[in-house]
């Protein structure tokens, strides 16, 4: 798929450009020829079924996985040149939360890229970390052990760590997964304020009910890029059918709603 020249010439700065990206684990390709250009100052969603390659796409953009072919450019430069401008929020389940450290320490990790190897965090770093914690409403948890956090709190800590990076482009893998309604609203507000500050946010999102409300821009992926563009034109029933195939039926939507509720229950049940 070739990005139309018309879109490139709209005069918008492109924050992230992905050219014909193909990624394989061992010999099995999991994303094929993905090609898009994401304009800056957007809240963009990546949607697609489980195993569609959404996480793989983010990891490849960040250089965590080497692509079989293709190219990634961030603000028209190779990633290495602008790494400090890009922040990545992994899926919450990807780490062991029983690690011996506290909340502030984890958020401080967002400063390591800026700090350099051997220096200790300075005053500016600590202030950036604290203000990131405040933005996610977790300031009073700064000294809390991370093993004592609920799922929604873990998610907010990961977001705070990314905020502490003070990047221009944010890539987030399912930041809304398993959080209660209040946290979801808080996270959304945060993303919107990032956009208002001129940053670009690309988020893997699973809740088809809310995609259109939350985001301006959408990438629809199922091993290939099915469609990309502004939400109104792109997020159509036809594209949804193409992306999810037969999987988008009533049953899966019901199952989806049920899991949402169980998350709320779990979040509430967690004793403070």
């Amino acid at each position: 798929m070739i990005v139309s020249d018309a879109r490139r010439s709209e005069g918008q700065t492109i924050a992230l450009e992905v050219h014909d990206l193909t990624v394989a684990y061992r010999d099995k390709p999991v994303i094929w020829g993905v090609d898009f250009a994401l304009p800056e100052r957007q809240l963009a969603a990546i949607v697609g079924p489980n195993g569609a390659g959404k996480s793989t796409l983010l990891k490849t953009i960040m250089g965590l996985i080497t692509a079989a072919s293709g190219q990634v450019r961030v603000y028209d430069q190779p990633l290495e040149a602008v790494r400090k401008e890009v922040a990545y929020v992994p899926q919450r389940e990807s780490v062991d939360w029983d690690f011996p450290t506290n909340v502030l320490d984890v958020v401080m990790m967002g400063r390591y890229g800026q700090m350099g190897l051997f220096s200790r965090p300075g005053k500016a770093d600590r202030e950036a970390a604290m203000s990131a914690l405040e933005k996610v409403g977790m300031a009073e948890f700064a000294k809390r052990q991370i093993s004592q956090l609920s799922g929604g709190q873990q998610q907010r800590i990961f977001l705070a760590r990314a905020l502490a990076q003070e990047a221009r482009l944010y890539l987030m893998d399912e930041p809304f997964a398993g959080v209660d309604a209040a946290t979801e609203a808080a996270i959304l507000e945060l993303l919107q304020s990032l956009r208002a500050e001129g940053r670009t946010v690309l988020v893997v999102h699973h809740d088809l009910q809310t995609v259109a409300d939350y985001f301006d821009y959408v990438l629809m992926i199922n091993m290939r890029l099915i469609a990309d563009g502004r939400m109104e034109e792109t997020f159509t029933t036809e594209n949804l059918q193409k992306t999810y195939g037969g999987r988008l039926n009533l049953l899966s939507e019901v199952a989806h709603l049920a899991t949402r509720h169980s998350h709320i229950l779990q979040a509430e049940k967690k004793p403070e």
Binding site: F99, P100, M109, K269
Partner: protein, 436 residues
């Protein structure tokens, strides 16, 4: 005998000083380094490398014919390095899972090592005796020169650990994020492996290749029980390692011919077991006590709630018999009797001749727990659209967990409802006790 003991403890002899310094330093290094390898989930790697240094030691001896520790160390380093190189190559080029690769390299290298060791012992080479101490360690054989050498290597390992503390911590906690901010995770993994090879090389004379891994893993795991801070964990693991090393050296010094390795393992295991059982918060005992306490609290709340419901049914009734209670709700009879005895002792209820009466404290608690139960039912029914006949079971569990802050939020969200979904009144007034 007493005198020998004092000799050792007070470091009266020069050789004792070397042995103690060597083993303590080794334990410290291994414990601190082990904290990272355990958290990075590389615990088995240490074991594999330790076994893999044996052929290097043997070959170094065969080629040079001396037992000069420096030469043997070089052999060990080469052999350990080669083993990690093989693991890497095999891992990259096959689809074998990592544990299989570790087991493979460990057994192949160790097998070759034993083969060479047997050859040496049968060859009748001069000074051959004593090479087998590298299997299980012989701390008492350490000399001043060895200790200086070990000290240099151990000190360098610690120095590097401190310099790279931040990146090592980051790659242990979240490797994906670490590479996303530009840290080369595989380089730090390689660094950790190199440090492991160095620490193990230092350890083989004192502890031996077979049991060296115990000193790398056990102190770190034991330390984890006591703290939630990586720095504290490192120091504690270092201290545990040093203590184990000292105890091992002592045993081997005191009972000539007793290998050090097994003594060190016994010591670390004892420290580990103590930590596992008695550490506050994370220890087995603490957990068990917490568990029991929660169980008792839930039981208490359930019994009080049952009393409240009995009172609600027949408001004139003040005195409740065991029979009344078990009619209303099933309790295991012995547990109920025990719980009531505790309730009396703690002043929740009073025991009269033919039953139990509420005390003020018990009355308030009964009201509170009934209220939480019913508030939660309202919340489920109104906000999460649970059918009315499905809310009870969930509320049974939630009533025991709701904190005062959460209750306040619930009350506000629900706008102080008067009745639960089954139309029972929600009690708010704490002082309406009729019994006191």
């Amino acid at each position: 005998m007493m005198n020998e003991l004092l000799d050792f403890i007070l470091l009266r002899e020069a050789n004792t000083r070397y042995v103690v310094a060597g083993t303590v330093l080794l334990g410290l290094t291994a414990g601190m380094l082990g904290s990272f390898t355990v958290l990075r989930r590389r615990a088995l790697l240490g074991d594999a490398i330790a076994h893999a240094v044996l052929p290097g030691v043997c070959l170094a001896f065969m080629f040079t014919g001396t037992k000069d520790p420096f030469i043997l160390l070089v052999g060990a380093l080469i052999s350990g390095g080669l083993a990690t190189f093989f693991m890497d190559v095999v891992q990259r080029n096959t689809k074998l899972p990592p544990d299989v690769v570790l087991a493979l390299v460990l057994s192949v290298f160790f097998g070759i090592g034993i083969f060479l060791l047997t050859m040496i012992q049968q060859s009748g080479m001069a000074a051959q005796t004593g090479l087998d101490k590298f299997l299980f360690g012989q701390a008492a054989s350490m000399m001043g020169r060895d200790v200086v050498l070990f000290g240099l290597i151990g000190g360098s390992v610690l120095f590097i650990l401190f310099i790279f503390f931040n990146p090592l911590k980051l790659i242990s906690f979240d490797p994906a994020f670490a590479s996303s901010v530009g840290f080369h995770v595989f380089r730090y993994d390689a660094l950790l492996t190199a440090l492991l090879v160095a620490a193990i090389t230092v350890g083989i004379q004192a502890v031996g290749v077979v049991l060296m891994a115990a000193l790398l893993v056990t102190p770190a795991v034991a330390a984890r029980y006591w703290t939630e801070d990586l720095r504290v964990m490192m120091w504690l693991a270092g201290a545990f390692g040093a203590l184990s090393g000292w105890l091992g050296a002592f045993a081997s010094y005191y009972i000539p011919g007793l290998p050090t390795g097994p003594c060190v393992v016994v010591a670390t295991t004892f420290i580990f077991a103590t930590s596992m059982f008695f550490a506050p918060e994370r220890g087995v005992m603490a957990r068990w006590l917490r568990h029991r306490q929660t169980g008792r609290r839930i039981m208490r709340e359930n019994v009080l709630k049952t009393l409240y419901q009995l009172h609600e049914e027949v408001p004139e009734k003040q005195l409740f018999t065991l029979h009344d209670i078990s009619e209303k709700r099933f309790f295991v009879p012995q547990e109920l009797a025990l719980c009531l005895r505790r309730l009396v002792k703690e002043g929740y209820v009073r025991q009269a001749e033919r039953g139990y009466l509420f005390q003020q404290k018990g009355w308030e608690e009964a009201i509170r727990i009934t209220r939480l139960h019913r508030l939660w039912e309202v919340y489920l029914a109104e906000h999460l659209a649970f059918p009315d006949d499905h809310v009870h079971a969930d509320a049974e569990a939630m009533e025991h967990m709701i904190t005062p802050e959460l209750e306040e939020k619930l009350r506000q969200t629900l706008n102080h409802p008067l009745h639960d979904p089954h139309a029972s009144p929600i009690p708010y007034n704490n002082s309406a006790s009729t019994s006191t």
